[in-house]
Symmetry: C2
């Protein structure tokens, strides 16, 4: 007996109505964060043109599609928006005045949207909102004059940190003061500044989450980050010694911030941890973040793939680590102008090492790449990652051997 | 006391003399294998232009640099060679007559070189060489006439397989015969054919190795592969039930073939395993291979990164698996012309799933992507991978639910 003909299911939607997410994601900015989205975009089958200021920029040098223009040039941003389903970002500096009409006119979805981005663009806006929401922050003051600063200094025992509300990154736009006249230049330039107590933190943590437009969100393991001259330098995932309940509490905080601010994409919440185990929010970043580079090799879904999935409204991927511990060490420009000989030596010394180079010219302290390792023991992994770092940034001829013996020449 | 000036170490080489490997790797051909090299090339900081016949080809659609031209157009290949340090391949079909002068004139290093490639280009050359070297092969005959075929058929009990020496891939160029007149067309086209006994294999295995110009080589875990209509369909890594001594013996065989043939890059040795546990060589491929796609997500160093490291003469990476078992299932063109809705449904159903799409138009049976999973249990992983495969190639509206219950609509 042959199978009877099947009536078309009245409730079965045609395939064309099935959700499929965005197919074209335009990336504004062409630094290393845009660059590291390109590989995952290829594998996901997403088109990912970048808006770059020159063809030599990190992502522009390797992208399949490059638009030339500045992130604050309205026409350049709109032209890219017109060719994609979604706009996302290598950095948070695109003015809301450019982004708002793009979303309002449905020229492209803007993810994260300008209302969310405001909290990563303006540190005063961020502090006001987080405080209103009851999320833990250092004590802070909006200061508009020397008198304001003097008052804040009095409350903080004579030392505090001031930050420009906008335009800062890494160590830029951050200054520690012990006198009220030490920020005159910034006061005249910015009008208002953010002053904060110096938090006596024992270490810095970072909590990353990803959130889709509909609210689906996932959290990565909370990591420990170490800064060097205000620049992210070393990350251990998960944060050593952080117990499960503390981790869950911090993940819940980051998920709540993503929900409260309606972030779409990756959100990094940088935190201070104090001796009592409490945390307070230092900074927010609404994009893949340096403290999440470990996940490229150390998690089932790396942060660059995850960011694309979130902004394209694709289902989010597992954040499960691929091993007990992952470490990341940044390559910050040093003596070697050519990174290839050191990378060669580092790969030869450690077959498990993953080297990521950004294709940027070397300047002292500039982020030019990073290395990762996944394994069992954080101390061992860090020693190996730093050996690789020295070989690459100093060059193999000058890097001291890790074991202290005389360097063999060859 | 200041540090005394250091004399320049007479034996310390300047950094410029340190080895650094190639920086520019040109890829001939722009199929999915070239495409999947692009992400790793970005991370390694390698420039990787592709030679494509159109801008719509799988790799050309996403590559940063595209040269247009055919792989058998000498001028097109030479133009690409002139702009890179190394030429490598998406496929093995570039004529030796084009490649030999490129190497001889040092226009670019050709890796793998034409002398090695000959064994992947011509199955008669491969059989003769492997037999001379004493590596295990099925019984085989060079046949140039019906009479030759009749004689071979007599020795194999009336059935055998014939293969065109050149130009075959997947199921193309392979035919099973039971009469001597069934290959007249191929005899007149090719002159000589390869005839082989039909091996009563219990399963197919694949052994992949990578080899650098100087001879450094590494072996991946031996995997089990399942074909469907002559096309690779499903891979389990490592091969279930293969004991350690058998694995080592097979890895040693693949390493010996790579050494004997002076292969540079990835080499895949496809094998028949028979009931007695013996293996014989079926095919060789000198490039990343479908049976190695699992390693993109399932090994510390994926085969595409490894191939680039080998041909660029960079130190090879660890082949260590990232978990106890990895599986790969190919996406072969089916009912769905648009893969995005099914990919969306598959990602939603399985957060650990990795989907790789090749950006190719859908035709029945065509390789259009693959999925991988890493975990503990091969049966579970395969069930999940095949559920994803059905969703993507059939489309979410028509794919039967994996658990047999009525499909929920939404």
């Amino acid at each position: 007996m042959s199978k009877p003909p099947q009536p078309p299911g009245p409730s079965a939607p045609p395939a064309a109505d099935a959700p499929h997410g965005a197919r074209r994601v335009g990336i504004i900015g062409a630094g290393q964060l845009a660059r590291m989205m390109l590989g995952p975009a290829i594998e996901l089958g997403l088109t990912a043109p970048v808006l770059a200021t020159s063809r030599e920029e990190s992502a522009a040098a390797v992208a399949g599609q490059v638009h030339l223009g500045r992130h604050d040039d309205e026409q350049a941003v709109r032209t890219l928006a017109g060719e994609v389903d979604v706009l996302t970002f290598d950095h948070e500096h695109v003015p809301a005045a450019i982004l708002e009409p793009i979303g309002a006119e449905s020229l492209a979805a803007v993810r994260p949207g300008p209302a969310a981005l405001a909290h990563a663009q303006d540190k005063l806006v961020m502090r006001e909102r987080l405080t209103a929401l009851g999320h833990p922050c250092p004590r802070w003051w909006r200061v508009g004059s020397r008198a304001d600063l003097a008052e804040a200094l009095e409350r903080t025992g004579g030392r505090l940190v001031v930050k420009t509300p906008r335009g800062g990154y890494d160590a830029h736009g951050v200054r520690v003061l012990d006198a009220a006249d030490q920020a005159d230049d910034w006061l005249s330039e910015h009008g208002q500044l953010l002053a904060e107590e110096l938090v006596p933190f024992t270490r810095e943590l970072s909590a990353q989450v990803a959130r889709r437009p509909g609210g689906e969100a996932v959290a990565y393991p909370v990591v420990q980050s170490l800064q060097k001259d205000g620049v992210c330098y070393e990350v251990v995932a998960p944060a050593p010694g952080l117990d499960e309940s503390a981790q869950q509490r911090i993940q819940a905080l980051a998920l709540a911030i993503a929900e409260d601010l309606e972030v779409v994409g990756m959100l990094a919440v940088e935190l201070f941890e104090t001796a009592d185990g409490e945390v307070s929010v230092n900074e927010l970043a609404m994009r893949p973040h340096n403290t999440g580079h470990w996940s490229m090799d150390g998690a089932v879904t790396g942060q660059f793939e995850q960011h694309l999935r979130a902004v394209a409204d694709l289902p989010l991927g597992a954040t499960t680590p691929r091993g007990p511990v992952a470490v990341m060490v940044n390559l910050l420009g040093g003596a070697a102008e050519d990174l290839a000989p050191g990378a060669h030596a580092a790969l030869a010394a450690d077959p498990e090492l993953k080297v990521h180079l950004y294709g940027k010219s070397v300047r002292p302290g500039r982020k030019i790449g990073h290395v990762t390792l996944v394994g069992e023991d954080a101390g061992d992994l860090l020693a190996r990652a730093h050996r690789a770092e020295r070989l690459i940034v100093d060059g193999p001829a000058t890097a001291a051997p890790a074991d202290g013996t005389t360097k063999e020449t060859r």
